[in-house]
């Protein structure tokens, strides 16, 4: 990453008469678009930039230098699993025998693509201990929504219409309650105990015949394994509800625990976390949803199935919850995830969870003298500090996060989970070497020292990034969200 900021917008490079494309001659030019009725056409061409090709290339290349990716440096962003995105994944996703396929092409011309879909779906089922997966959901949140739709469809198929509540722990990602609301479910919050796990005694009175199910992340957002999971699943099942596994934290479970073996009925996986597909600055992701045996018929349409002759088909099921995507989901993301699984093989996948867990515990133990560790004991792939141990100089978690940027590290996730005021959530992933972790630990200790000796310098960090802290209050008070508005404001 460059420290020099490249701050131009493509619109500011535009000059009338320039052009960045070439197209073939119109061989059917006798048929002129001007024949269309004028009242159906736009009055003016859109005010898009007019730029030559090299200007476009330099513009976006310079812009990319303002960015920080996993390829740039260590990215210990808790709950996001910023692991290495192997290059072979990208090559396979760009394979020309797949990228040019139209999603509605006739059956028999897309067998290779369907085989990728089917094999990935079965690989995920094996890794998660589930019966079948749909790969149609576009992201984790979309997977959650789909999973909750499956749970509701299951209850409705039994004529059980009154199950409209879903239990969510107070430590859950905000997406859980938001997905429940979109799915028409009421959220009931269950409290955590001081050790960060679900309070079984608080759960018991919530379980009645209006409960559709319970959503859990395991390990939870504090990185702690919910060791009472068997009892919780038993209680929820006895009350007639289903257990939903939020796969956001699946990474440390690889090689150790399969959600389907520990009482979960429905789950999603974030391919962009556990299965190494790139985050792309916020998307595209992919959120496959798996179900245990007996729930397959509720999966969304369309489904990819294989017959006895090893032929692949796209099929619509009658009991399905319906369609949640136009076609078969983010196929090019699946190509990457399938490549990753094949690259690792069964013999390496099993080491993913253990090494991610080792890395997290190593950082935790190395820093707990300088940072407040609210919950001791072993963690899984991530853990949470509650800010600096010595808070006397008023240096906050935000300040620590910003100061880390000066040292060339991405910041951890901050102010989540909401259980602590100064949460600082660290997830290193299995790909990072001891040297990288040691470097991070050293810097975190340095920042703790700086917080004591020169707090103002930490509070005004970052100092060494392309831009300094931004005025987000002004941005929210007077939103300027297009170039047109920007010109009017002369910002």
């Amino acid at each position: 990453m460059n420290n020099a900021y490249y701050g131009k917008l493509i619109f500011e490079l535009s000059k009338e008469g320039r052009c960045g494309y070439s197209l073939p001659e119109n061989e059917c030019a006798d048929y002129k678009m001007q024949a269309l009725p004028a009242n159906l056409m736009r009055a003016e061409a859109p005010a898009l930039p007019e730029v030559d090709e090299l200007t476009v290339v330099r513009h976006y290349t310079n812009m990319s230098n303002n960015n920080f990716g996993v390829d740039t440096g260590f990215y210990p962003l808790g709950s996001c699993t910023m692991k290495y995105n192997p290059k072979i994944n990208e090559d396979m996703a760009a394979h020309p025998a797949f990228t040019g396929l139209h999603p509605l092409q006739p059956m028999g011309t897309v067998d290779g693509a369907l085989e990728v879909y089917y094999n990935l779906q079965m690989s995920l089922a094996e890794l998660a201990g589930m019966s079948e997966f749909t790969l149609n959901p576009f992201a984790g949140a979309h997977g959650e929504l789909t999973g909750l739709m499956i749970i509701r469809s299951y209850h409705m198929s039994r004529g059980d219409e009154k199950r409209v509540k879903i239990i969510v722990p107070d430590s859950a990602h905000g997406t859980n309650p938001a997905s429940a609301a979109v799915c028409g479910l009421q959220v009931v919050v269950v409290k955590s105990r001081p050790d960060g796990t679900v309070d079984v005694e608080d759960l018991k009175p919530l379980l009645d015949d209006t409960i559709a199910g319970m959503m859990m992340t395991n390990p939870n957002t504090l990185g702690i394994f919910e060791h009472n999971i068997a009892e919780i699943a038993k209680l929820v099942h006895e009350a007639g509800g289903l257990m939903y596994y939020d796969g956001a934290n699946l990474n440390p479970m690889l090689g150790k625990v399969r959600p389907g073996d520990i009482g979960f009925d429905v789950m999603h996986i974030n391919l962009h976390k556990t299965f190494s597909t790139p985050h792309g600055g916020g998307g595209p992701g992919s959120g496959p949803v798996g179900v245990r045996k007996g729930l397959e018929q509720f999966l969304p349409n369309p489904r990819v199935v294989k017959d006895d002759m090893d032929h692949f088909f796209i099929e619509d099921g009658e009991q399905s919850l319906g369609y949640i995507s136009g076609f078969l989901g983010n196929f090019a993301v699946m190509m990457r995830a399938y490549t990753y699984i094949l690259t690792l093989g069964y013999n390496n996948i099993k080491n993913v969870g253990p090494l991610a867990t080792l890395n997290a515990n190593y950082i935790k133990e190395s820093l707990k003298d300088c940072y407040e560790l609210p919950i001791g004991g072993v963690c899984k792939h991530e853990f949470v500090f509650d800010g600096l141990k010595d808070k006397s100089t008023g240096v906050t978690t935000l300040d620590v996060a910003k100061r880390l940027l000066d040292y060339g590290f991405h910041s951890p996730t901050i102010y989540f989970p909401l259980l602590f005021h100064e949460a600082l959530m660290i997830e290193p992933t299995e790909n990072e070497s001891k040297e990288t972790l040691d470097g991070f630990i050293e810097v975190m200790k340095t920042i703790a020292r700086e917080a004591k000796e020169d707090p103002e310098m930490v509070k005004s960090a970052p100092h060494n990034t392309p831009v300094r802290r931004l005025d987000d209050t002004q941005a929210a008070l007077h939103p300027i969200v297009t170039y047109r508005e920007l010109q009017a404001e002369a910002l």
Partner: protein
């Protein structure tokens, strides 16, 4: 344990375990009850080298058939310039997270701001969000936005001329979200004005969803629709084909409140259905009701013009069950495809792309009709580059023979009707070959019969 993605040497592991006060990595899982631990090996293949992986995907790729594409119906075979595919692979863009740390994410924030600006120009609307999953879910989100905006109404009207693939996703969301979806009838390939007027008159409708161009490729005349919607306090939502917006009347010009659709037609490969990018644009007045992320301009501590995620208090990570939507992603990387594509094509390029499609489609349509074997399903209705034709021939047979000849001939949308699309990528030769094939699929019947039976 040595493996290319795991840098841990045995010595590293020993020393790290020592720091953790553990004897083995298993000790770090001591909190997991042993009966819950998976003790077998996964039933998966052994690790493959890159060479083996390439061979395997080449083999799988051979199971696909690359077809010359005359199919649209929501996914379009437009050309994406080399620059697009080169830049989107830059790992600074590819391997970064959502730009929460604005100081080291200006690249992502800048291009999203450009994307928002371009989508606003294209739709004519005042604001755009930072993008959504795809056109179907963006339309479903707009449906929920209309219901939230109306507060006490839970009915939405959707025209039967909207792509059925979009309608069925909207219906799924509606079913679970407690929204009643009523169809507005189609008549002669366009939405029935009389049916719309009758249904909106009940004053219980939160939003009305129509399409431009519609599923049949037709440019409908929506004069007066927005006024009628607003008179009855409903939002007008317009689902659009992004590329066509370069020339056709914009949602803003029709008076729509929300413009949605898929941005795939702006430089994103067909990719067997995804990833694409959904767009959702609206008025400034409704900005806080809009789902998804938004990037805004501001200044940094030194007074530099910079960009930042804004209006986040509407979103799921803060509002939880009261958020405007559960969406956490935006399809940033796909928005980058669109942004670079539009930078290159600019004002004129988009027009040219549409002209080429228009000319090719009208040339093909005329040729098919002249043959006597086809007629336009909706004669006299204006279309851009996609049109529906009726035929007495067996359309399944046409598709099968087409595939054998290397053509994706179009989509069967009824027993006697097919939908055909022509983009700038189709040459006159290809169009002529397709026309010949469709008009006379079995020139030497005897010879071909065997082959067909085999395929079927």
């Amino acid at each position: 344990m040595a493996y290319k993605f795991f840098p841990h040497t045995d010595e590293d592991i020993r020393s790290m375990l020592n720091t953790c006060g553990a004897k083995s990595i298993d000790d770090l899982y001591s909190d997991v009850p042993s009966e819950l631990v998976f003790k077998e090996d996964y039933d998966l293949p052994e690790a493959m080298s890159e060479i083996e992986i390439r061979q395997y995907f080449d083999y799988l790729g051979e199971q696909n058939t690359k077809l010359t594409c005359f199919m649209g119906a929501g996914c379009y075979d437009h050309y994406s310039p080399s620059v697009v595919n080169d830049i989107v692979r830059r790992s600074e863009f590819l391997t970064s997270y959502t730009p929460y740390q604005a100081e080291i994410s200006q690249g992502t924030l800048q291009y999203i701001f450009e994307y928002q600006s371009m989508m606003a120009e294209l739709t004519g609307m005042e604001v755009s969000n930072a993008s959504m999953y795809d056109g179907c879910t963006a339309t479903a989100e707009a449906m929920m936005m209309a219901v939230a905006n109306a507060k006490k109404r839970n009915k939405v009207l959707i025209s039967e001329t909207v792509n059925p693939i979009v309608i069925r996703v909207v219906e799924t969301y509606a079913k679970f979200h407690g929204v009643v979806v009523e169809k507005i009838a189609a008549e002669g390939g366009v939405t029935s004005r009389a049916d719309f007027e009758a249904k909106i008159a009940n004053d219980d409708v939160a939003g009305v969803i129509v399409a431009t161009p519609n599923f049949y490729g037709i440019l409908e005349d929506y004069t007066g629709w927005a006024d009628l919607c607003h008179e009855h306090k409903a939002l007008l939502i317009m689902n659009c084909v992004a590329s066509a917006l370069g020339v056709i009347k914009t949602p803003a010009e029709w008076g729509a409140d929300v413009a949605v659709g898929d941005g795939q037609s702006l430089g994103i490969p067909m990719n067997f259905g995804g990833p694409y990018v959904g767009f959702l644009c609206t008025s400034k007045k409704l900005i806080r009701k809009m789902p998804g992320r938004i990037v805004g301009a501001t200044k940094d501590a030194d007074g530099k013009r910079t960009f930042v995620l804004t209006l986040q208090a509407r979103e799921q990570h803060i509002r939880r069950e009261k958020a405007t939507s559960n969406i956490c992603s935006n399809e940033s990387l796909m928005a980058l495809y669109v942004t670079i594509y539009m930078s290159l094509m600019g004002k004129k390029g988009l027009r040219e792309v549409n002209e080429l499609g228009y000319s090719g489609a009208h040339y093909l349509a005329e040729k098919l009709v002249k043959s006597g074997k086809f007629e336009l399903a909706f004669p006299d209705k204006p279309f851009l580059n996609e049109f529906a034709v009726k035929t007495t021939q067996d359309i399944d047979m046409l598709q099968t023979i087409g595939a054998l000849e290397g053509f994706n001939v179009g989509l069967k949308i009824a027993d006697d009707t097919m939908l055909i699309c022509v983009t700038e990528q189709r040459t006159k030769d290809e169009i002529d070959d397709l026309a010949d094939l469709l008009i006379d699929p079995l020139p030497e019947e005897a010879e071909n019969e065997e082959t067909i039976e085999e395929t079927v």
